[in-house]
Amino acid sequence: MHFDDLVNGFPNLTTTGLTQGAIYALIALGYTLVYGVLRLINFAHSEVFMFGTFGAMWTWGWLGFGSTSGRPGLGTAIMLIALGLVVAAVVSGATAVVVELVAYRPLRRRNAPPLAFLITAIGASFVLMELMGAATGRIQFGMPPLLPSNPVINVGGWRITPLQLATFVVALVVMFALDTFVQKTRFGRGIRAVAQDANTAALMGVNKGKVIALVFLLGGLLAGVAAVFHNMKTGNTRFNVGFLIGLKAFAAAVLGGIGNLRGALVGGLLLGLVESYGSALFGSNWTNVIAFVVLVVLLMFRPTGLLGESLGRARA
């Protein structure tokens, strides 16, 4: 136990925890969206995220910004980030939709039992990860430095770097946009209708197939956004980068109440904070233990997560 580490580093631990939490939340939304509509843990979502990290990296590399190049000016950096976001979102979104078409749709058409989906999800995850591994020689790739590292805020040791600020702001904006989309638009109503009762929704003229594809696409887009910030934050990627972060994001989704959009946000941020404080207190190697213990204890008392399940009906 290192209470002094926790106390001394508290402000910075909070910032890093929230930043990491925002990334978790973005990925967690992908799990939650799919779960809300299909009652399905999309295990391949971690690979959707991983494809996004490579998409952004290759785009930057193609434009001449590799890991060893110098830091570009702020304007260029913002352009690059924006471009990276678009490409990563498109790559991840497309991957997610392909996974849906290849691995899930045929099963849905055959009305397969839920656990069969779990297995195809695992299969899809293997395929995507191993293909990327073979294509990239299973080595690690560095990211170009984009944003400057001198803090925008520096008050008595409490530092917020531009990247942390950007991550947090973009994540919040994206999540707000998603929430609006689901609550206010026609497509959003379709999603909620299918989530609540797929068959009735179909009778009311909602195209279930389209809605499901849309949900995968949205989850993929968000994973792409997360991928870019993950790239910049950790400065690297490799073929198996998705597994651990996917697991954490899934835990975050469960923590907040899987199927609940705002739950994913709360769960992600909370998990980020818990990990950050916990690893200061006990050491980084115990991070996952702390995260899971918190999760398990919470589920004992709130068996459906912090905010419960709300995108669809409560579990029967």
Binding site: Y35, I41, F43, V102, A103, P106, L107, R109, R110, N111, A112, P113, L115, A116, F117, L118, I119, T120, I122, G123, A124, S125, F126, V127, L128, M129, E130, L131, A134, A135, G137, N199, A202, L203, F243, L247, F250, A251, V254, I258, N285, W286, N288, V289, A291, F292, V293, L295, V296, L299, M300, P303, T304, G305, R315
Partner: protein
């Protein structure tokens, strides 16, 4: 084609009807399994294109089969939890770890229990530690189940996943007795010597395979006893409708806990066998991926059916291992050059990708698993018909 299917139906029908025939077939099949690891078996048959490619040239066949059998044991244990009681457990490998570490700690002369903590002076023989390993695995099943069985469905999945992670991370910490990545070497072996005085159980995987196969057979019979009793009915009732089961007088919590404990005990046996063979135990083996693989085995084979679990356990190990050698056997290229980049396309390297494709394809065409419980298959037929009818109306 129809002649073949007709013959197949007649043969299977005959075996279904005649009990002695069925038992005879099973006995022959088991005998076949015992001779399977002998390379000479294949050389004797020597049918190129059929037998030789099935022999894994990229890895020792006896070792592959031994890995298959301990995975099958795990699958059988998990099948009790997932297949019969319907509890989604993503952390099943944790119990394997408990079994393996118990054996390693008690039989290795380099165990910290001996060298640092002085709990006992000399290592115990392997055989003595196995019951202890099973008991501890069972106990850990109960300890995990007690708090976590209150949550249901997918939430249970994440709780069990967390449990396995926690076990792994604790194992990873070098300062504790499990010695982390440095692990515990010189784990004890089962007793017995060949007539010439060399130990039976040492580095050769064959005797271990035979031992594990025997354990599989014993486990199948014991689990079958449970399934065809009040316990099995209670499990299936819980799986089908937990609330209704409880209102019909089934002590659901107790039986769910039993399912966990039984599954864990079988997992513990598997772990202790593995530790005995592998001679070295460290934290790297107990990753979440392995738990997921065992779950894939159960569902690939067919949940709720022991034969299915066995088939699944065999396939998840054998297929990737076979793919290791298939490239050599058929002489496929290893790399392809695309745009100046060497792409590694050898089946060895891509074997898990192929395996993933296999999982998807099987689940698309047989969502209930390759060898489902007969009733599940019927249910699936019903569901498909329901879909067809539903679509007709809509």
């Amino acid at each position: 084609m129809s002649a073949v299917t007709d013959l197949w139906h007649r043969v299977t029908g005959f075996f279904n009807q005649s009990k002695p025939a069925r038992i005879g077939l099973i006995v022959v099949f088991v005998a076949f399994l015992y001779v399977l690891p002998n390379r000479e078996f294949y050389e004797y048959l020597n049918i190129p294109g059929v037998w030789i490619p099935l022999y894994t040239t990229g890895n020792d066949m006896a070792f592959v089969l031994f890995t298959c059998t301990w995975t099958i044991l795990l699958a059988l244990g998990l099948n009790v939890v997932v297949g019969y009681a319907g509890l989604l457990d993503l952390g099943f490998f944790g119990f394997f770890a408990v079994g393996a570490y118990t054996v390693a700690l008690m039989t290795s002369p380099e165990s910290k229990l001996i060298t640092e903590y002085n709990w006992f002076e000399s290592p115990y023989p392997w055989l003595v530690t196995v019951p202890i390993a099973i008991a501890l695995a069972l106990l850990s099943g109960v300890l995990l189940g007690w708090p976590s069985l209150r949550v249901r469905g997918d939430y249970l999945a994440i709780v069990t996943l967390g449990f396995a992670e926690v076990i792994r991370i604790i194992a990873k910490n070098q300062d504790w007795i499990l010695n982390g990545d440095r692990g515990i070497p010189q784990v004890g072996h089962p007793p017995g010597t060949w007539p010439d005085g060399t130990p039976i159980f040492q580095f050769d995987a064959k005797p271990y395979y035979w031992l594990a196969l025997t354990m599989v057979i014993v486990a199948v019979f014991l689990i079958r006893n449970l399934v065809r009793s009040r316990v099995g009915r209670a499990w299936v009732a819980i799986r089908e409708d937990e609330d209704a089961a409880e209102l019909m007088g089934v002590p659901t919590f107790r039986f769910k806990l039993w399912a966990f404990a039984i599954g864990a005990a079988v997992g513990g046996i598997s772990g202790s066998l593995w530790a005995g063979y592998n001679n070295f135990v460290n934290s790297a083996t107990f990753s979440v991926e392995n738990s997921i693989l065992v779950l894939a085995a159960v569902l690939l084979g067919g949940a709720g059916n022991q034969a299915g679990a066995i088939l699944g356990g065999f396939l998840v190990v054998y297929v990737p291992e076979w793919l290791r050698s298939v490239g050599d056997v058929f002489g496929w290229p290893k790399t392809v050059r695309v745009f100046d980049i060497n792409l590694d396309v050898s089946p060895t390297s891509l074997r898990y990708a192929f395996f993933g494709v296999l999982l998807i394809v099987v689940m698309i065409f047989r969502p209930q698993g390759l060898w489902p419980n007969r009733r599940r298959a019927a249910e699936f037929k019903d569901r498909r018909q329901a879909v067809v009818v539903g679509e007709g109306v809509g």
